[in-house]
């Protein structure tokens, strides 16, 4: 904990970013607890459709950011959407981290042919943009499961697609760290003591290679959220009947031309705020944990 | 007595941390006479390398010189502008670092580095510089100088590179050579070659030398006089024979006993000094050595002993070892 306090001392940018993230998380996870789901019948009222933001003519105090075409209160809808986006982002990052981490650990520790196979696979995957890959995986899943899938299934597919699309970066980072650590004398000491390879890998090496990937994971969280929003915007991710920042933006996009700008602009601003905050924090953590910048002692 | 080549008086350096200054060097004072080899000896962090860096004004924040005068052949280096100081480095003071790789530019040929250095400091034509460079490569004992002249640093062994670093340090005919742990990274057999070379060149050129090392064996063979560093201060200074034969300061004696060596009967002995040298910012009051010293009395804990001027063999100690040696 003292290390954490140390990491932020005298750095206003990261402090603002961290505070903003905390506020957004509270907003996304607390508001839905006390409001009705605007994507269910009871949560919307068609009478309020296209209600403008509070400061415009016809704005209502209960709907500070206005309402969309179905009369969903945007401040509630965005909380639900933000919650989905954060969860999809976080879970997909964890999936990528677990897959990439495991493959990277094995590749770096075992070396030889195993390493070559895993790394060539990574090279092949890198030839495709992550977004394209997520679309392909989503397409395959849809082909197998059929169109009539549930919202939950669609979300799960998006999460897995994004997770798989990002494993390579973790695998490469972990692999190169493992290759450095496995030649350290503390590993040799554990070998001489008679520890098994698995024990050495999990207990000795893993804790020493985690810091850089956790930093990458933070930065990737922003990219994963953007990817989810992009997929949903393109209509191949989360269906418009389910709240996510991407589906809100997509829906709002239909009304941008007709003057109801708020339906897409506010979710957009929220997305930008979240991603910028996450990136500022990630950059800061990267600098903080980078021994070259920070010095060894 | 002639004018010293290097005259250092009351040199102090601090390390700034969280707005506070911690002493790194404190009142370092010594002279180097023309043609003399002064050895600076001490443990890591005692301040011996810092002294070398402070003399050529290469301290970078958070390190800062707070006091002291440094005179090279009478000229005050501490008052020179950064621009003029750059001309002193390399021309009037040559430097040999511990790691020969970092002192050589990895992408330039050896010949280019030698000729560049000479032409920067001496009025030579390209042809003359080349001739001199080849002569220097021969002089530092490298076989096939024309081949070495064209070689890149990575094509040479560690010992060969260290010879080139010595040639680079001396080729501009400096008044003073500062050699900072010049043989520490080398093996025993290569080390003896390098020390022989340094000695030969020193005798030929007459350049005064400041030899920084933690190895008392190197001091015994090379230095005319020695300054012993402890916790940022010079605690004893003497001609080499007197220092090694009859050290006054208990730390100097302890350092010698800590070096494994056979005693008069041929049995090996080693005797450790208890404790550790205080780190920066953790200096005890009084004599910095008193927590580890068997001879310490009340005054040692309270008052810092000055480096007493006792005719060439000086020690900063209230209870020096001299009586025991005499009796």
């Amino acid at each position: 904990m003292r290390g954490l306090a140390e990491a932020f001392r005298g750095r206003p940018g990261p402090i603002v970013a961290a505070t903003l993230i905390v506020l957004l998380v509270v907003y996304a996870f607390v508001l839905p607890l006390v409001t009705a789901d605007p994507f269910s019948m009871s949560g919307m009222s068609i009478l309020d459709a296209f209600s403008p933001p509070i400061w415009m003519d016809g704005g209502q105090a209960t709907m500070p950011f206005g309402a969309d075409d179905q009369g969903r209160n945007l401040i509630t809808a965005m909380a639900y959407g933000l919650r989905t986006s954060i969860m999809v982002g976080a879970i997909s990052v964890v999936i990528g981290l677990v897959i990439g981490g495991a493959l990277g650990l094995v590749a770096g520790f075992v070396g030889g042919r195993t390493d070559a196979i895993i790394m060539r696979l990574a090279d092949v995957q890198l030839a495709y943009p992550a977004l394209l890959l997520a679309m392909v995986i989503d397409g395959i899943a849809t082909a197998i499961l059929g169109r009539g899938r549930s919202n939950e299934m669609a979300i799960a597919i998006v999460i897995v697609s994004i997770g798989i699309a990002f494993w390579v970066q973790y695998a490469r980072t972990i692999r190169s760290s493992v290759m450095v650590e496995r030649d350290q004398d503390y590993v040799a000491a554990a070998r001489v003591t008679g520890r098994s390879n698995t024990a050495i890998l999990i207990q000795h090496i893993l804790p020493n290679v985690m810091a850089p990937v956790l930093v990458i994971a933070t930065i990737n969280l922003g990219i994963a959220i953007i990817t989810e929003a992009t997929l949903s915007f393109l209509g191949i991710g989360i269906p418009p009947t389910y709240p996510s920042l991407g589906s809100l933006i997509r829906n709002g996009n239909n009304f941008l031309q007709s003057g109801e700008w708020w339906i897409s602009v506010f979710p957009c601003l929220l997305l930008v705020a979240l991603v910028v905050a996450v990136n500022v924090l990630g950059d800061h953590l990267r600098d903080h944990f980078n021994p070259k910048i920070r010095g060894r002692t | 007595m002639s004018e010293p080549v290097l005259k250092v008086r009351d040199l102090s350096v601090v390390l700034e941390r969280n707005g506070r200054d911690f002493p790194v060097l404190d009142g370092v004072t010594f002279d180097i006479a023309p043609g003399e080899v002064l050895g600076l000896v001490g443990e890591s962090g005692a301040g011996k390398s810092m002294t070398g860096i402070a003399i050529i004004d290469l301290l970078v924040p958070p390190l800062r010189r707070t006091s002291g005068t440094i005179a090279l052949s009478g000229e005050r280096l501490d008052q020179l502008s950064a621009k003029r100081m750059r001309r002193v480095r390399g021309k009037r003071i040559g430097f040999v670092f511990q790691d020969p790789m970092t002192s050589l530019n990895p992408v330039l040929s050896i010949g280019r580095q030698l000729t560049d250095t000479m032409r920067r400091h001496l009025p030579l034509t390209r042809g003359e510089a080349r001739e001199r460079a080849i002569a220097w490569l021969t002089r530092v004992g490298l076989a096939n100088p024309p081949r070495v002249f064209a070689a890149a640093p990575h094509e040479l062994s560690g010992g060969q590179r260290q010879r080139i670093v010595i040639a680079l340090a001396l080729c501009a005919e400096p008044d003073l050579l500062i050699a900072d742990e010049p043989t520490t990274a080398l093996d025993v057999s290569v080390q003896a070659h390098m020390l022989t070379l340094l000695r030969e060149l020193h005798e030929e050129t007459g350049t005064a030398m400041m030899l920084i090392t933690h190895d008392l064996g190197v001091i015994a063979k090379m230095a005319d006089r020695v300054a012993v560093f402890y916790a940022g201060r010079v605690i004893e200074t003497a001609p080499t024979g007197r220092l090694i034969g009859a050290p006054l300061h208990p730390y100097t004696a302890g350092l010698m006993q800590a070096t494994p060596a056979p005693d008069a009967d041929g049995a090996m002995r080693v005797r450790a000094i208890p404790g550790a040298m205080p780190g920066i910012g953790a200096l005890p009051p009084g004599c910095a050595f008193h927590p580890r010293c068997e001879r310490a009395q009340a005054i040692c804990r309270e008052e810092r002993p000055p480096l007493a001027d006792a005719g060439g063999h000086d020690a900063a100690c209230y209870f020096p070892l001299v009586e025991e040696v005499v009796s």
């Binding site: 503390y186 804790p207 | 057999s189 494994p260 450790a272």
Partner: protein
């Protein structure tokens, strides 16, 4: 293998590279391998400290890592008791301790691995070991970064002792330390040696250190064991010219005799060692036979030497 033999090296070799690549096969070229260790034989007996001394790159650390089972030899064999517990102390005090582990877990690891103490007694044992190496039990809660190089070597020693080893390998354990810290660590090791009669292999480039620590000394040059003898014999009556020259090359503390004694010539390229005797290119006594014929490891009095001549150098110098 007799009961008193802890480790037997029989003509052990280690080569790196050397496997022909496809291109080399296609062009019928022989790959350029590196023979790091060549046919080294010695036996370590129970309770003795065997020293190995040589310059960097001579192969002594490779021998240590093979003795520890960290590297497999490419030739010859290593005989050891399968149930034997080994421990190793390394040169670099910074890389030899896991920076993410607390000191008490580092020291407890061998105890837990070999189940040397019941679970409840481990904490107390760790505290005892930390005290024995001159640290305090409270230091157990800290991470290695909180300690200096000398203190880290103490932690390494505590870890090694925790494993109650039948055989201890020390690879340059004091070479990264200042002389006064080195003396403390040597003192500590000598104390444990006297108390526990550890069997150990002590590797260093520092002749006074190995003379202080070892009962017998092997001298390694360019991957070969060129001489093996009891410590005082090595220093008073060396049989191999390299041993003699190596002893003379290190500057001693005598300021009245300022002579320096470099070993003539340079170290040959290890991937292209000289024919015959590996030392002949620098040996003042070499002749044609040394170039033509590799000397056998011969037994002389109390030791062994790999040299064509029964070169009792002290007598030779006197003659």
């Amino acid at each position: 293998m007799s009961l008193d033999d802890v480790l037997i090296l029989n003509a052990v070799s280690k080569a790196y590279g050397g496997r022909a690549s496809m291109i080399e096969k296609a062009f019928g070229r022989r790959p350029k391998g590196l023979q790091a260790v060549r046919e080294v034989s010695f036996t370590i007996r129970k309770g003795e400290v065997m020293g190995l001394v040589g310059e960097s790159g001579c192969g002594k650390s490779t021998i240590a890592r093979m003795a520890a089972g960290l590297l497999a030899p490419t030739g010859g064999e290593i005989g050891r008791n399968a149930a034997m517990r080994e421990q190793m102390i390394f040169q670099d005090p910074f890389s030899s301790l896991n920076p993410r582990w607390r000191v008490r877990d580092i020291v407890a690891e061998p105890i837990r691995t070999h189940r040397l103490r019941p679970k409840k007694a481990i904490d107390e044992r760790v505290a005892e070991l930390l005290r024995q190496v001159g640290l305090s039990p409270e230091d157990g809660a800290k991470f290695p970064q909180a300690f200096s190089g000398g203190q880290r070597q103490r932690i390494s020693i505590a870890r090694a002792l925790a494993g109650e080893p039948d055989f201890l390998i020390l690879d340059e354990p004091t070479s990264a330390l200042d002389v006064s810290v080195q003396a403390q660590i040597l003192d500590l090791l000598r104390g444990f040696q006297a108390e526990l009669h550890l069997t150990s292999l002590f590797i260093t480039h520092n002749l006074p250190v190995v003379r202080l620590m070892a009962d017998r000394i092997g001298v390694v040059y360019l991957g070969e064991l060129v001489e093996l003898a009891p410590t005082e014999t090595i220093f008073h009556r060396p049989r191999h010219p390299y041993t003699r020259l190596l002893i003379d090359a290190a500057p001693d503390l005598d300021a009245t005799d300022r002579s320096l004694h470099p070993i003539p010539g340079d170290l040959p390229d290890p991937s292209d060692p000289p024919s015959g005797c590996v030392f002949r290119t620098r040996c003042p006594f070499a002749n044609e036979r040394c170039a033509a014929e590799r000397p056998e490891l011969r037994t002389v009095e109390t030791g062994q030497v790999r040299c064509h001549y029964d070169l009792d150098l002290s007598q030779r110098a006197a003659a």
